[in-house]
């Protein structure tokens, strides 16, 4: 199976959801009208509002139904005959709580065929240093794998992939393509590139190589109150190599055709996922022991 993916990085207008959805639609229009090869278009974390909102999350949050409806309305006037899948991040209100979420949608030329395929709610919420997520949004509780038109996939958001265990869970559940959306403010200007941009590349390459999966990453750009998001979105193959990457800081879109048949080749060369599956029962017992011990320690 070949999937033509596009990762888009742009600077959203702060807190202006309608404007940012207009821009998402503009970019989809460009993709359709210019014939940019695309089966799945991936936008960054919180692209509908910008990332650092603090209490503004309450104003910018939308339901997933509202996002789908708003995008369908904008997309239909220029819709192409074949469906187009879209991944994007937004602040969500769901069951009386706010979340930092991602949607995987399928848009179609017929509004009744447009649908939400999957919603991921960010599992690991950074609340340290410049980050304050736990103060303003609730934590998601699942790392899920869902079927797409192109096979099983997962969506992870930013700090989700700083923990290798989330990638391991998604791979064990059968995900072949990881859509990773991010908003990463630049820190560290000593090395060849911005420190966290280098760290991101390392994380994504390690994750792809360890599990033999494709990784498609879209990262925010632009400055928010002096904090500049790095961009540098990339597509990484199951061998852990960057296939294409976008520039630092600047708005851009990158395209690649990913071939899921390469997954088997990569995993045959480095059967780490199979080894993980084989050792899973023992690992689970180890993890349960750790959890029980930590639980007990807190009672002392």
């Amino acid at each position: 199976m070949k999937i033509r993916v596009v990762a888009v990085q742009f600077k959203p207008r702060k807190g202006d959801v309608e404007h940012n959805l207009d821009r998402v639609a503009e970019i989809l229009r460009q993709i359709v009208e210019d014939g940019v090869p695309a089966d799945v278009v991936v936008f960054p974390e919180t692209i509908t509002s910008g990332y650092f909102l603090e209490g503004g999350v309450r104003e910018a949050a939308r339901t997933r139904e509202q996002i789908l409806e708003a995008l369908v309305k904008r997309y239909l006037p220029f819709a192409r005959p074949e469906p187009l899948d879209v991944v994007l991040g937004f602040y969500e209100v769901w069951h009386g709580k706010y979340y930092n979420s991602a949607l995987y949608l399928t848009l179609s030329a017929q509004s009744e065929s447009c649908r939400t395929v999957h919603t991921h709610r960010k599992f690991f919420l950074p609340t340290y240093g410049v980050f304050q997520e736990k103060r303003f949004v609730a934590r998601g509780r699942n790392i899920e794998v869902f079927p797409t038109r192109f096979g099983p996939a997962t969506v992870l958001i930013c700090e989700d992939v700083w923990h290798s265990i989330t990638g391991a869970i998604a791979a064990l559940k059968g995900a072949e393509v990881f859509y990773v959306i991010a908003a990463s403010p630049g820190r560290g200007f000593h090395g060849e590139s911005v420190g966290n941009a280098m760290k991101w590349q390392q994380l994504l390459c390690n994750m792809a190589e360890e599990h033999g999966v494709w990784v498609v990453n879209a990262s925010l750009v632009g400055f928010e109150g002096g904090k500049g998001f790095v961009g540098n979105s990339m597509v990484v193959n199951p061998f852990g190599q960057v296939v294409v990457s976008a520039p630092l800081m600047r708005e851009a879109m990158i395209t690649a055709t990913i071939d899921t048949e390469e997954i088997a080749i990569a995993r045959a060369n480095a059967p780490l996922l199979a080894d993980l599956e084989a050792g899973l029962a023992d690992l689970l017992i180890e993890m349960q022991e750790i959890a029980a011990e930590q639980h007990a320690r807190h009672r002392q």
Binding site: G56, E192, G222, G226, M249
Partner: protein, 284 residues
């Protein structure tokens, strides 16, 4: 069997403070464009040019971000200011080809101080610094420009600035760079060496230098600040070889000036208190 020992852990702060100057330049140019043009709709900048390295670097960055034709370097001497400061500012103006104005603040400052003839050097310096801000903001209104701040991280951490004066411009590209990092950036940008290598001075009092005022060199202060900001204790920094009295000096200055890095302290009475409960980022 051969025994290979790990080297003693060294804390090479010089190395830790080294920046990738071309990358920082690119980042700060993008910051200026983003914050000035895209966010605020300003295409022009005014920079108070003191003849020192911070304002020179700021002018160089603004010229790169906006084009020299959109930058105004404003010289604001007081009668006791050194002529060298004016000359050094002129070097920057000439090298960049930016617009310039020279506004002598002496009559305005003395106009007020005639009522307070006993004001000591510190008060007089504060009046000068605040007068310069009045000039910068007024000229920015005239030129439809944005004043760009020039304060560096070291002086911000030391509280070594006049509150609601040097810190008042709405954007500041150098505020997260230590003084020694500003020097690195200056050399990369091509700021005249005479400006980079001269002793830093606020030029508010004749013959005064920052390092005399502070009681420590910027090189040493930046290294100590580097570790203090990361949460190292005084004893740990002392173990690295830094003099205890200098560490304590830096720590005392840092800890006594938190208030200068915040907006005015407001008495909280409700659960919608601004900046406590009602939290919105500056650009929301």
């Amino acid at each position: 069997m051969e025994v290979i020992q790990a080297p003693e852990r060294t804390h090479d702060a010089e190395e830790l403070l080294r920046i990738n100057a071309p990358l920082v330049t690119e980042w700060l140019v993008e910051f200026l464009r983003d914050e000035m043009i895209r966010r605020r709709g300003f295409y022009r900048a005014v920079v108070g040019l003191s003849g020192g390295v911070d304002s020179s670097v700021t002018a160089f960055l603004c010229a790169r971000a906006l084009g020299a034709e959109n930058v105004w370097g404003i010289r604001m001497p007081y009668r006791t200011s050194s002529t060298e400061s004016l000359e050094h500012a002129q070097l920057v103006i000439d090298q960049l080809g930016i617009h310039s104005r020279t506004i002598d603040i002496t009559p305005a400052v003395d106009g007020y101080l005639q009522y307070e003839p006993d004001a000591d050097g510190r008060r007089r310096g504060n009046v000068m610094a605040r007068m310069r801000m009045i000039v910068l903001f007024d000229l920015s209104a005239k030129l439809n420009a944005l004043p760009v701040g020039t304060g560096n991280k070291t002086e911000r951490l030391f509280g070594y600035f006049t509150w609601h004066a040097d810190d008042s411009p709405p954007i500041n590209p150098l505020g997260d760079l230590f003084k020694t990092q500003v020097w690195q950036l200056a050399r990369y940008l091509g700021v005249p060496e005479v400006i980079v290598s001269k002793p830093a001075s606020a030029d508010l009092i004749v013959g005064q230098t920052d390092e005399d005022d502070l009681g420590i060199s910027y090189h040493l202060a930046d290294q100590i600040l580097y570790f203090l900001l990361r949460g190292y204790r005084v004893e740990q920094i002392e173990e690295m070889g830094y003099p205890r009295e200098k560490i304590l000096l830096v720590k005392a200055r840092l800890e006594s000036t938190h208030w200068k890095r915040h907006l005015p302290t407001t008495a909280m009475l409700s659960t919608t208190s601004i900046n406590d409960y009602y939290l919105r980022p500056v650009d929301y």
